[in-house]
Amino acid sequence: MNILTDTSVDSISTDETDHLTGDLLEISMGPQHPSTHGVFRMNVTLDGEQVVKLKPVFGYLHRNHEKIAETESYLGCMPYTDRLDYICSITNNWAYALAVETLAGIKVPERAEYLRVITGELTRLQNHAGLIGFLMQDMGASGTPLMYAFREREKILDLFEALTGARMMCNYMRFGGCRCDLPAGWLDGAKKVVEGFPKFLDEFESLLKTNEILMARTQGVGIVTKAQAINAGLSGPMARASGVDYDLRKVDKYGIYERFNFRVPLGEVGDVYDRYMLRVLEMRESVEILKQAIRDLPEGPIMDPGTKIRGFRPKAGEAYGRIEGPKGELGFYLISDGSPNPYRYRVRPPTLINLTLLEDMCLGHNVADIVIILGSIDIVLGEVDR
C-alpha cells in the first residue's frame, strides 16, 4: 500500500497503524474535487470508509486581500470586498461600510438604511437558496434541487442587476449610504419576487422535507454541541443550529433592525439536518423582514451629505464593525493612522472560523458524510483564503 500513501508535505503519518486491522488509507480530497466548493483540500485518513483524521489545507485561493487593502484608499477597498464572499457581495459591502462608519462616526440616512436592509436580506435569501441547493447536490440529487434554487436565485440577481448594474459584484454601498437610488419600478419587482419566494420554499419542502433519504443522510451527522459552538466561535446559522441564541441583527441591532418584527429560529441537535432546516426557516423570516422594509421604505437622501467619498481620511484610531452575514458574523477591523489608506484592514471571515470544528464533526463518519458536513458549513473559498 506504499504507493497509496500520500507523500506531500502535510501528509499525516500512519505510524500508529494497527497491523491486525490493516493499513489506513490516506486520501486527499481536493483541491480538485467536485464537492469542496472551490479549491479547498482535506487530507483525510480513512479506516475503511471511516474518517480517523482530517486536516484541512487552506490557501489555494489566497491573494492577500488584507495587504491589497493597505495600498488602496478607503473607497478603493469597497469593490474588493465584493470578491471576498462572492455569493453575497452586498453584505460584505455592508460590513465594510459599517466598520468605516464606526471608525469615522458617520450617520447613515434613513432611506439608505432601508435600502441596505432590503438588499442585505435579498442577499441572504439568494445565499441560503443556493446553499441548500448545493447541499442537496453534494448529497447526490443530480441537480434538481439546485436548479430550483438557482431559478429562484436568478430572480434576485436580476433585481441586483437592475439596481446596482452587476449581478454578483454589486459594489453597492458606500460609507455614509448607498451608491444609487432605486430605479423606477424596482420596488414593485422586488415585491413580486419576495411574495413569490415562499412558494418556492413550499415547493422545495415538498420535494425534500419529509424525504426519508434526506433524513437518513443528514440526521445525527456532524453534531456540534452548544458549548463547542460557542467556544469555537461558530456564528450565523451554524451556531444557531446548535442552539446558540446569537443573531447580531438582534444583539447589535445595527442599522435599523430593531424596527422589524422577525424571529430567530434555533436548532436542538446541531447536525446537518438542523443546519439545513435553519436556513429554510431563516429564509422565511427574511421574507417577513423584506415585506416590512418594502412597506415602510421612506423617501429621502441616500447618502450622508457630510461624507467625502474620495480622499476620505478618518481620524487616527481603530474600529471593529460586524454584521450578521448570511454565513455568519462578518467583521471588519480597521486601524486608521490618519492617512487615506487604512493602516490595518482585517476581515473576520465567518466561514474560515466555522471550519474550525470540521475535523471534530467528521471523525467517525463516512467519506460521504464529509461532503455533506462541509456542504452544510457553507464555505466560500474567496472568503476562507482571502
Binding site: G76, Y148, G165, E203, S206, N211, E212, M215
Partner: protein, 226 residues
C-alpha cells in the same frame, strides 16, 4: 409509512416536468445567441469614454485630469496627459489624453472611475462580447476603441444619460451667462478698445466658469477671454 416522502418528491418533479412544457415561469432558460434578454438599464461591464458631437478626436470630454487613474482599485487605467491644449467639442482649449488605455483584462468593473470623474467623461458600457484571440493586446483598449458617442450613451443608459446631459446643459448655460456677464463687464471696462472686446462670443464656445471652481463643468476656458 416508509417511502412517503420519496413519493411526494416524485410528484414534485413530475409537476415540474410537465410544468416546464406549459408554464413559461418554470422554463426560464433563454436560448442565448438567438434570444436575448432585454437590456437592463443599470447594467455595467467595462468603461468607455464619452465624446460630444460626431468626431471623437476633439469631442472627447476627458481632460486627462488622471483622477480615475489614481482611484482605480486594480490600476488598469493608463493616461498620458497632453502637453498642449486643443479645442474640444465646444471649442474651448483643453488638455486632452494623449494616451488613454484601459486594460480590461485587469478591470474589475467596479465603476469607481465613473463615480470620481468630475467631467462625466467616463461611463460604463454594456458591450460584453469582447473575446479576443490576442490575450494581451486584444484586451488593451486605447482611446480610439474606448471613445463612444454621447448618442450611444443615451441609447444604453437613457435615464442616467438624460440626467447627465441636463446637468451639463445647465452648467453650460450657467457658464454662458457668467461669460456673457463677464464679457459685458469687460466691454464696459474696455469700451475704449471697442474693436477688441465688442466681438460677440461664439454661441457654443462661451467662456466659462472661473478656473478655481471645482464644479463639474465641461470646460474652464476663461483663459481665452483674458
Amino acid at each position: 409509512m416508509l417511502g412517503e416522502g420519496i413519493v411526494k418528491g416524485l410528484a414534485e418533479t413530475a409537476r415540474n416536468f410537465f410544468g416546464s412544457y406549459v408554464n413559461k415561469e418554470r422554463l426560464t432558460t433563454v436560448q442565448f445567441p438567438e434570444e436575448r434578454l432585454p437590456q437592463i438599464e443599470a447594467t455595467r461591464d467595462f468603461p468607455f469614454l464619452v465624446y460630444d458631437g460626431t468626431d471623437p478626436e476633439p469631442g472627447l470630454r476627458c481632460v486627462a485630469c488622471q483622477i480615475c487613474e489614481k482611484e482605480c482599485p486594480p490600476k488598469c487605467i493608463y493616461i498620458v496627459k497632453s502637453a498642449d491644449k486643443k479645442p474640444d467639442a465646444t471649442g474651448k482649449a483643453q488638455f486632452y489624453p494623449a494616451q488613454f488605455d484601459i486594460d480590461i483584462s485587469v478591470c474589475m468593473s467596479c465603476q469607481i472611475c465613473v463615480e470620481v470623474c468630475p467631467f462625466d467623461a467616463i461611463k460604463m458600457d454594456v458591450e460584453f462580447e469582447m473575446s479576443s484571440e490576442d490575450r494581451f493586446g486584444g484586451l488593451l483598449l486605447d482611446k480610439y476603441k474606448l471613445a463612444k458617442s454621447n448618442e450611444y450613451y443615451n441609447k444604453i443608459h437613457p435615464t442616467e444619460a438624460g440626467a447627465v446631459d441636463a446637468a451639463l446643459a445647465e452648467e453650460r448655460a450657467k457658464a454662458k451667462l457668467a461669460a456673457e456677464a463677464k464679457a459685458k463687464k469687460d466691454a464696459e471696462v474696455a469700451a475704449a478698445k471697442a474693436a477688441a472686446a465688442a466681438a460677440p462670443p461664439p454661441p457654443d464656445a462661451t467662456p466659462a466658469l472661473a478656473a478655481e471652481t471645482p464644479a463639474p463643468a465641461v470646460a474652464t476656458a476663461s483663459g481665452e477671454t483674458k
